[in-house]
Amino acid sequence: MRLPDHGGPEDLMPGKEQPDLLGPEIEEFELELEKEQIHGRTALWSDVWYRLRHNKLAIVGIVIIIVLFLVAIFAPLLATHDPLYSPLYDSTVSSAEKAGAVKQTPNSEHWLGTDQLGRDIYSRLVHGSRVSVEVGIVAVLISLLIGLLFGALAGYFGGWGDSVIMRSADIFFAFPTVLGAIVIMTVLGPGLINVFIAIGVLGWATIARIFRSSILSVKENEYVEAARAMGASHARIIWKHIMPNSIQPIIVYATMGVGGAILAEAWLAFLGLGQQLPAPSWGNMLSEYLVYYTTDPWMMFIPGTAIVLSVLAFILLGDGLRDALDPRLKGSV
């Protein structure tokens, strides 16, 4: 029986004319394909942004945060009145006018009304946003500075230094943040700078703990040993090889921490330890207006809402970042 003529192996023998297999064209095509993949898939941050963009709650958070920052930056331009001006202390204002100037409900002249001293609540709110933003950023930066440094030392080098650092962190954990801040503020005295320090110093322990545990797993990777075998110094290994691979939980925590710091500042100001009157901050506005909750409850809701919204915004963004940075956490996004 004869097999159909398929062309035997001798067709592939050297010397025989080979059909052009489109080698270079195929290679060219694969190259293009790879190029597309590089730009579509590999860059971590564009990937993160892609996933973040498709998370509605995170977008809400981002929008609120952007508005908050813009308000804080352009506060003097956005305010309609002097936030400190009180007609009660103005000798040119008549007594009758003074009586009518306080605790006005929102109107076209005073968008959010006036407070018990006749000051424009909207302008005070706008100026108060600066305090919140400053505290949020500065306090978290201080926490990051201390927390990352000690976390890295503890996680990377281990040994007795690790024990000392982490036991100190445990001591900080034993204090509720606000109670701890009150203690520190009592020692340092009231004032905005001391609020930065108190909240910042108290936040380091969590960051150190997260960073340490993250480093403990990352430093066992072979590329860390490979870097050591290449002669890289400890500082270089921590900064270049460990940091980028263990910073993700820190980014999430720090974002949420900004919200936490804003809340803590409001607490302290509420207790009279933060921004000192008459300068406005959301916390001290809240504490002033709370007094009138039976007669004019709308007043306390204004700074209250501002605080809730900003804290919520940072938590939403942090939550979104956590999902975006770790796609495995929630299945497919």
Partner: protein, 336 residues
Amino acid sequence: MGANGERLLEVRGLKTYFHTQAGVVKAVDGVSFDLDRGEALAVVGESGCGKSVTALSILNLIPDPPGKVEEGEVIFEGRNLLELSDREIRQVRGNHIGMIFQDPMTSLNPVFTIGNQIREPIQIHLGLSRKEAKQRAIELLEMVEIPQAEKRYKMYPHEFSGGMRQRAMIAMALSCEPMMLIADEPSTALDVTIQAQIMELIGRLQREINLAVMLITHDLGVVAGVAEAVLVMYAGKVVEYADIGRVYYNSRHPYAWSLMRSVPRMDEKRERLLTIGGSPPSLINLPPGCSFSPRCPFAEEICSEQEPPLVEAEPGHLSACHFARDFERHGKGVED
């Protein structure tokens, strides 16, 4: 063993112990060997026999605690590496001695491009500018036969296959033109054809740039093509040290001899592979006498009583066996 070249590395009586809760693990217990310029030495033995610890001790990379180099000298170009300061040893690592690791999938940092990582040692040690370093990195990628080096330079490790990553690791290890390369099981994690390519590459580089290679492996087939001398380790000690031909065809130690016989061969028809009975001893509680005696097919009374010294069984052929000098006769007698 090569007596032809210039001496590059001398390891003398190296002892590296790990202090664990269970006791002291004598991972490396008195290892000595030499390496000449351009020579390739294979260090073979089963898992946990101290091969990798020996290599890491040379570069002072033993995690301390729990590990510690207790004794010995590592003379590299006239300097004892074990006595160098942290800063001085960093100058040796990567710059004079390069090292590549077993698993190329994990020994590259996933967040940086290949190019970035090859550039790193160049910038650390040679102080070249970023641009010059890039040029050099691309040349290195070409040297290790990575096609389209310029394009590959910008890629991330996960876009490379295992073989390509190992090539990139070799490029990184050789970036500062070291005189010596330590390859710790460079082909174990790769498939067979890629293994052969990587070994061929190491062999070619060894010849072309006169690189001294310390090749750690448990695959005797891998050794054959590249190495000139073989150091066989068992339970932290050197049991046989000779030219590759001697170890392969005229082994003077029952462990090495059994190892050679348990390699499958294409030119021999055998129903079953020979195996070495038992398992490697615990490095905390070594058996008395010769560590291999409980598994040794030729063991006699003396073996479990006295530890055999490393002696010259024939010129240039060291073996740690009581019967090293008349091994052939002794072994044959038992086998028959």
